[in-house]
C-alpha cells in the first residue's frame, strides 16, 4: 500500500516538474521572441505613423492614423528599385557561384587524399580570419586596373588594345572572386560543404564508379543533387551577406551604383538634404522615414527567409558540424 502511494506521489511529482519546466521555458522563450521581434515591430509601427505622432507618448504600438507617405517618400529618396536591382544581381549571382565553387572545392577536400591537403584546408580557414579591410585596397586596385591576370597585357603587346580595364562598377568584380571560391566568407561555405560531404555514405559514390562514372560526373550528378540542405544554407548565407555587406560594395560598385547597404548608410544624409530643399526641417519626418527605409531594405530578405526557412532550420540538424 505504502509502495503504491509512493509511486503515485512520484508520478505526480514528475508531472508537476514537467509542467513547471515547460512553463518556465515558455516564459523565457516569450521574452526572447519579444526582444528579437521588437525592432521589427518598432520599425513597422514607426514607419506607418505620421511624423507628428512619432514621439507622441499616447501612441503605444498602433498609430492613430495610418499613412504610407513615409514609404513612398523613402522609395524615391533611396532609389529603391535601382538599389533593389543591384542588390539582387550581386546577391543571386554571387550566391549561385559561391554554391557551385565552394561545393566543388569542398568535395575535393572531403573525399580525396592528396599531398598538402591539410595545409591547404588550414589556409581555407585562415582566409576567414583576415579582416577584409587588410586586403581591400590592393583588391580594389586589382579590379580598377584589371588585366585578366596578365593575359591582357600580353594581348595588348601582341595585338594592341588596352592593357587593362576597370571592373569597378561592374558586377564581375563580385562574381570573379566567387567563381574561384574566394568571395565573401567563402571559407565558411567550403567548411560547411566539406562537413556535409564527409557525412554522406561512401556507397553512393562506389555505386557510381561501378557504373562507370568519373569523379567529376559523380560530383555533378550524384553528390550535388543530394546536397540540397547544404546548398540552400550556403546560398542563403551568401545572398544575405552580400546583401548586407557595406565596405566592398561601396568600393567596387563605384560612385554611380548603390545597393541597399550603401543606400541605407547614407539615408539620413540623403533625407536631410531632400527635406531641407522642401524647407521642412522636421527631425520627426526623418525619424519615421529612416524606419520605413530600414524596413524596405530588409523586406526582400525576410521574404526569402520565410520561403527557405524550413530547409534552413532542417539543415541545422543534418549538416552535422563536428
Amino acid at each position: 500500500m505504502n509502495h503504491l502511494k509512493a509511486m503515485i506521489a512520484n508520478k505526480w511529482n514528475k508531472r508537476t516538474r514537467k509542467a513547471a519546466v515547460s512553463f518556465i521555458r515558455a516564459a523565457v522563450l516569450a521574452v526572447l521572441a519579444y526582444q528579437l521581434l521588437y525592432p521589427l515591430l518598432y520599425m513597422l509601427s514607426m514607419a506607418l505613423r505620421r511624423p507628428e505622432e512619432a514621439m507622441d507618448p499616447s501612441v503605444i504600438w498602433i498609430p492613430k492614423s495610418f499613412t504610407l507617405s513615409n514609404f513612398t517618400d523613402t522609395l524615391r529618396v533611396m532609389d529603391f528599385w535601382d538599389a533593389f536591382a543591384n542588390s539582387m544581381y550581386i546577391g543571386i549571382g554571387s550566391g549561385l557561384l559561391d554554391v557551385f565553387s565552394s561545393a566543388f572545392v569542398a568535395y575535393g577536400f572531403a573525399r580525396f587524399r592528396f599531398p598538402f591537403a591539410k595545409v591547404l584546408f588550414t589556409l581555407v580557414i585562415l582566409t576567414l580570419m583576415v579582416p577584409v579591410q587588410t586586403i581591400i585596397l590592393p583588391l580594389y586596385a586589382e579590379m580598377k586596373y584589371f588585366d585578366a591576370f596578365g593575359l591582357m597585357g600580353i594581348l595588348s603587346a601582341i595585338a594592341g588594345g588596352p592593357d587593362s580595364i576597370s571592373l569597378v562598377g561592374n558586377y564581375s568584380a563580385f562574381y570573379l572572386p566567387s567563381l574561384f571560391a574566394m568571395g565573401l566568407r567563402s571559407g565558411l561555405y567550403i567548411f560547411i560543404f566539406r562537413q556535409f560531404f564527409s557525412g554522406m555514405p561512401k556507397e553512393l559514390e562506389d555505386a557510381a564508379y561501378v557504373d562507370g562514372y568519373g569523379p567529376f560526373k559523380t560530383f555533378f550528378f550524384i553528390m550535388l543533387p543530394n546536397a540540397r540542405n547544404a546548398i540552400i544554407t550556403v546560398f542563403l548565407f551568401s545572398f544575405v551577406w552580400h546583401w548586407n555587406e557595406y565596405y566592398m560594395s561601396n568600393l567596387l560598385l563605384g560612385n554611380l551604383k548603390k545597393n541597399f547597404a550603401i543606400a541605407l548608410s547614407s539615408l539620413r544624409v540623403d533625407l536631410e538634404s531632400v527635406v531641407n530643399v522642401q524647407t521642412i526641417s522636421d527631425p520627426l519626418v526623418i525619424v519615421t522615414r529612416i524606419q520605413a527605409g530600414a524596413l524596405l531594405s530588409i523586406l526582400p530578405l525576410v521574404i526569402l527567409y520565410l520561403v527557405t526557412q524550413r530547409y534552413f532550420t532542417d539543415s541545422v540538424e543534418n549538416v552535422g558540424i563536428k
Partner: protein
C-alpha cells in the same frame, strides 16, 4: 589530359583528381587573397599616391608603423577600445547563444517557430542596420519612450534603483549592460545556429548510457554536452572575435577605411590594417594555445 589520368594507378589517380577539385580555390587564393595580402604588406612601407596612371609610391621604411604606434593620437586609443569591447561582449554572446541553443534543441510545441525567430538576426542584422537600430530603436527603449512601456522602461528602473539608494555610477553601469543586451542578442544569430548544429551532432547514445547510470540532466550538461561541444566552441569563439573586430561600427575599421579613401593615405592605411591584423593574430594565437588542451576531438 584526362585520358592520361585514366591510365594512372588508382591511388595516384585519386590524388590528381583531388588536386583538380581544389585547383579553382588555389587560383582564387593566390589571385584574390595571397596577392593582395602581400601587396598590402608592401604598401605599408611606402607613401602611396594615386596618380592618373595608377598607384605610385615612395619608400618610407618603418615610418608608417612608427607614426601609428607613437604619434597617432587616434589609433592606439581605438585599438584598445575595440579590445576592451571584445573582452566583455564575446563571453556574453557565447553564454547567451549556448543557452538559447540548449533551449531550442529538444522537441516542444512551437519549436519551429522559435527557431525561425532566433535565426532572424543571421538574416537581418547587418552592420548598417545595427547602426540604425542602435541610434533609434534601442536608445529609444532606454530613454523610456512610449515604445518601451512594456519591457525596459529605463526611467522606471532608474527610479526604483535610486529609491533603493544605489549610486548614479552603478545605475550607469546597469544601463550600459541593458543597452548592450539588445546589441548582443542581435549579434548572436550565427553562434546560436552553430551551437544548435553542434548539439544535434552529439550522439544520443551518450545521453542514454549516462541516464542508465543515473546521471541527471544537470550532470549530463556539464559532463557530456559541454565537452562534446568544445570544437564548436572553438569555432564560435574565433568567429565571434573576428566578427567583433571587423564589425561595420568598429572604430579601427572605420579609421582604416577613412584613412585610405577619405584622406587618400593608402600606405598609412595599409600599415594600420597590418598592425591591427597582427594584434588580432597574436591574440587568437595566444587564446588557441590556452584552450587547445581542453578541446575534445573525437574525429580521426
Amino acid at each position: 589530359m584526362i585520358s592520361r589520368l585514366r591510365s594512372l594507378p588508382y591511388t595516384k589517380k585519386k590524388q590528381w583528381y583531388g588536386f583538380l577539385f581544389v585547383l579553382p580555390w588555389v587560383i582564387g587564393f593566390i589571385l584574390f587573397f595571397a596577392g593582395p595580402l602581400i601587396t598590402s604588406f608592401k604598401y605599408s612601407f611606402y607613401n602611396m599616391e594615386l596618380t592618373p596612371d595608377g598607384l605610385k609610391g615612395s619608400f618610407a621604411g618603418w615610418e608608417n608603423f612608427r607614426y601609428a604606434i607613437f604619434r597617432d593620437p587616434q589609433f592606439i586609443r581605438e585599438a584598445v577600445n575595440s579590445f576592451v569591447n571584445m573582452f566583455y561582449s564575446v563571453p556574453l554572446i557565447l553564454i547567451y547563444s549556448l543557452f538559447v541553443a540548449v533551449l531550442l534543441k529538444n522537441k516542444f510545441r512551437g519549436r519551429g517557430l522559435m527557431r525561425a525567430i532566433s535565426f532572424l538576426p543571421v538574416i537581418i542584422a547587418s552592420g548598417v542596420l545595427m547602426q540604425i537600430l542602435k541610434e533609434d530603436v534601442f536608445s529609444q527603449g532606454l530613454r523610456g519612450g512610449a515604445e518601451s512601456v512594456y519591457l525596459f522602461s529605463g526611467a522606471g528602473i532608474n527610479g526604483i534603483l535610486t529609491e533603493l539608494g544605489i549610486g548614479p555610477q552603478l545605475i550607469e553601469v546597469f544601463n550600459n549592460v541593458i543597452a548592450r543586451i539588445f546589441d548582443l542578442t542581435w549579434r548572436s544569430g550565427v553562434q546560436v545556429l552553430l551551437f544548435l548544429a553542434g548539439l544535434h551532432a552529439i550522439s544520443g547514445d551518450l545521453y542514454e548510457a549516462s541516464a542508465v547510470e543515473g546521471a541527471r540532466a544537470w550532470e549530463q550538461f556539464w559532463k557530456i554536452t559541454l565537452p562534446m561541444l568544445t570544437p564548436i566552441m572553438l569555432l564560435n569563439v574565433v568567429y565571434t572575435i573576428i566578427d567583433t573586430f571587423t564589425d561595420y561600427g568598429n572604430g579601427v575599421i572605420l579609421m582604416i577605411y577613412n584613412t585610405a579613401f577619405s584622406q587618400v593615405r593608402f600606405g598609412y592605411s595599409s600599415a594600420l590594417a597590418w598592425l591591427y591584423l597582427l594584434g588580432i593574430a597574436l591574440f587568437l594565437g595566444a587564446l588557441y594555445a590556452l584552450i587547445k588542451k581542453r578541446i575534445v576531438n573525437l574525429q580521426d
